[in-house]
Symmetry: C2
Subunit: 191 residues, 2 copies
Amino acid sequence: MPKVPPRTQMVITAARLFQRNGYCATSWRKLVGTSGAPWGSTQHYFPGGKEQLGVEAIELAGANVARLIEASFANTGSPGEAIQWFFSNSAGRLSKSGFRDGCPVTTVALETVPGSRRMSTACAAAFSLWRDTFARGFIGCGLDHGVAQDWANTVLASFIGALVLARVQQSIEPLDRAATHVSLSLRSAPA
Amino acid sequence: MPKVPPRTQMVITAARLFQRNGYCATSWRKLVGTSGAPWGSTQHYFPGGKEQLGVEAIELAGANVARLIEASFANTGSPGEAIQWFFSNSAGRLSKSGFRDGCPVTTVALETVPGSRRMSTACAAAFSLWRDTFARGFIGCGLDHGVAQDWANTVLASFIGALVLARVQQSIEPLDRAATHVSLSLRSAPA
């Protein structure tokens, strides 16, 4: 496997630490130490410090989740099945991590708004990307553009909320229930 | 107006600061300073320190939101209207605070799980209280027990998620859209 460049490794590490522990509780020292990057190079890689690294970590996490949303439509045959697949995949990851790997954006978003405009913009962009990716998936399944947008909003809010509940309850039940309820409603959605 | 006892004032202040800035970014010094409580008495009031104060702040916030949910059913005539009322009331509060007063539990919950079992338990209990209050409201409107539970889960996840989105986007639109979509779906729910 090709070696990951140290700058990229720092972004990957930051995304994981922010997802698990949040933005405030993750110090620059911890970020550098965990990534294994040489101290001397970090200022060169990220002259904007923790905020710059944070923005890139959120962009990475945003793109990763968007790819999962795309996969959920590619691997299934209907809007309802795609939602079940996506929620179930997320539930599996959460459970496998001992209920530590929740949403990679929500905690950071809530901690940095309105204090850091750059972080807030990155978090809002990640959420928008997910919403648009859901909408594109629904449109690809034949849903009307407006209906697809409505469902994309609904699914995104349900997903973010259910993931908060699942993490706090240390149980995948909220994700399972949200997926089932949304999928059932989607079946009766006008095309 | 009767003077609020200093211990109660500390809990009220803590609930407000945690809601705005999260748990990590709110220091004990800030909590004591903002509440105006005499330094000497704080250890006496809260021998368990920030965690004990945090648990009581979450309990207070949980009870306040549950009262709002009850009011949403008392002030309206149907499940759909109750949801519209509740989301609209929450949107009004968020907007009035300059998009600072988001969910009083979510940020703290994500920051303290799994690090503090006492905080996680308090946050999970607040979410359960809201879910049960929604379910009781739906049952009071004539919905079947199981259907009411399902809708309570759906509404709770949508509310938590939409409030995250509204705060990050600095717009009440996600709450408006979630309320409209959930209310419409509720109208076609079996009783």
